[in-house]
């Protein structure tokens, strides 16, 4: 075996190890979606009709390793002023001091601190139990939620919205919160608006390459 052959073998091994290390590194996904698809639907029961609204001002970053879902960490931020309901008076109340006080608390956020458990349902999908801290109206509470994570490698360009190659991470989750827990008119008007707020998250994070 000549010296040049050994050098070539070492180089190939080095490249292989680097590639393996790179593929194992968590990917950073940006949740400020250029297509503006990311949204959270919120629903509260009320006597006349349920109050349904959406929030679209979503940003944040999540580090996700498709080979190691347990390492997921990150933060999703929602612009409180982006919460929308069809009735303008109701929207004014929702943004006002009595409810979310969006002037004083412009952000709602969920910080994922750990993955308590996960189950890989197929090659791309993972059902995960995420623990973290939810902050609404300045009140931070520990929360555990179920989420479905779908990793779509190389699908960023095909999806559009950004002229780049890269990956997508789709996050879906559906869970209730209590408005009393977050100081949103705690214990008040329960006969008119339910305490439970049902949240449905439909989020896509992008990770452009290069």
């Amino acid at each position: 075996m000549t010296v040049s052959t050994i050098k070539r073998l070492l180089l190939a091994a080095g490249l292989g190890l680097t590639a393996a290390a790179l593929s194992a590194a968590p990917i950073e996904f940006d949740f400020k979606d250029p297509k503006g698809v990311n949204n959270i639907v919120f629903q509260l029961d009320a006597p006349l009709e349920s109050i349904n609204g959406t929030a679209t001002g979503i940003s944040g970053n999540v580090h996700y390793d498709p080979d190691d879902p347990a390492s997921l960490k990150g933060r999703i931020v929602v612009e409180a002023g982006s919460l929308h309901v069809g009735n303008p008076l109701m929207r004014e109340h929702l943004h006002g001091n009595g409810w979310l006080n969006v002037q004083a608390h412009p952000e709602i956020q969920f910080e994922v601190e750990s993955v308590d458990a996960y189950e890989r349902t197929d090659e791309r999908n993972v059902l995960a139990t995420l623990s973290g801290t939810m902050t609404i109206k300045g009140v931070a509470k520990p929360m555990t939620v179920q989420a479905r994570l779908t990793y779509l490698p190389g699908m960023l360009r095909a999806r559009g919205g950004i002229d780049a190659d890269g990956d997508l991470l789709v996050v879906r989750s559906d869970f209730p919160i209590s408005r009393t827990d977050f100081g949103i008119r705690p214990g008040q008007n329960l006969d008119r608006v339910a305490d439970e707020i049902r949240l449905t998250l439909s989020l896509a994070g992008i990770a452009p390459r290069g």
Binding site: N39, T54, M155
Partner: protein
């Protein structure tokens, strides 16, 4: 002459009352008789093809809600009560005068 004016005025009040009720119901009907509050925008959910995520698209649209028939009925009730009240008062006064 005075009584005939009162009678016409009473009929006028009843007419306004019925008109308020009709307008309230017509506006409500325009919105599809929605049993909910008035909205100035509607949300249509669409699907992003690659991620298969549903996302909201807001459209400015005025859809009258339950406030319109309620307000129309309350106004109608007020005008009808005033109209019928005045009518009864006028007829009782004219009956007394004739007797």
């Amino acid at each position: 002459m005075h009584h005939s004016f009162q009678r016409r005025f009473s009929r006028c009040l009843i007419g306004i009352g019925l008109f308020c009720l009709a307008v309230g119901l017509a506006f409500w009907g325009y919105g599809g008789f929605r049993v909910g509050w008035t909205v100035t925008s509607v949300t249509v959910m669409e699907v992003d093809p690659i991620t298969e995520l549903s996302f909201p698209v807001h459209e400015d649209k005025f859809l009258p809600g339950i406030e319109f028939p309620v307000a129309g009925s309350l106004l109608a009730l007020g005008f009808l009560a005033a109209g019928f009240g005045l009518g009864r008062f006028t007829s009782s006064v004219s009956t007394k005068k004739s007797s």
